[in-house]
Amino acid sequence: MKKSRIILFILALLIWMFLSWPPDYQHLIIGILVAGFVSFMTGDMFVKRAHLFKHLSRYLWFLYYIPLFIWECMKANIDVAYRVAHPDLPINPGIVKVKTTLKSDTGLTFLANSITLTPGTMTVDIDPEHGFLYIHWIDVKDKDMQKATQIIVQRFERVLKRIFE
């Protein structure tokens, strides 16, 4: 797989250049050597499906995903701060099971991370074969699987399906 190695090389070089910021030719030479060595050794372990990187619409949907994520994150923080500072601790915790239709590893990872940083929910375990997610919910509104799926997952799923599938 040649294409995946080139993508990994470009990513590693970018991170190296940002870490040694004022750009300099000595840093550039060392960075090219190290990034080439790393991408030669790891190969296609990191980037599995390289053909997804040339679709432009995925980048546009990713740009739409960032403000959505930041807005949900702000709401989550204000919600948690209210629950912590209230004298009676208004919590009602439990672990519920939801179903997702995402299949790829990167999509599942991003879905789990988004669920962890949004109001009141946190991923405990993933069952990738059947598409189940076990979620700890600080204020359980519904124990049923379908309704919990509607409330928790579907905000992000329709965007993430366009990015990673």
Partner: protein, 108 residues
């Protein structure tokens, strides 16, 4: 002007950090503590680093603070997820007022 906005971001981050660590002390259970502290401390530290970026501009430490934001947002939920799974497998029960535990029903 950017320095004033940066200070506002830093103060917001400090307040959220304080609430997160207060939740670490007050809440009754491992999973609830993990929720409160991961969310609040992640966003609080990201806000502090963004304030540092506004102070410094595009210098070495400013760019490094942006890298730090991306790094924290990617890694903090992963470590929370791993810790919750490890705690459940090592046999920590949910606290007294919990409603349901589908994970224990499924995995035995």
């Amino acid at each position: 002007m950017t320095e004033i906005i940066g200070m506002v971001f830093i103060v917001i981050g400090l307040i959220f950090d304080l609430f997160g660590c207060l939740g670490l002390v007050r809440l009754p259970d491992v999973y609830n503590r993990l929720q409160a502290s991961t969310k609040c401390v992640t966003l609080g530290t990201c806000s502090i680093l963004f304030g540092l970026f506004l102070f410094k501009g595009f210098t070495a430490s400013g760019i490094k603070s942006i890298l730090g934001i991306i790094f924290i947002i990617l890694t903090a939920p992963v470590s929370a997820h791993a810790l919750a799974r490890g705690a459940h497998k090592s046999g920590v029960k949910l606290c007294k007022g919990s409603v349901c535990d589908k994970y224990a029903e499924d995995k035995g």
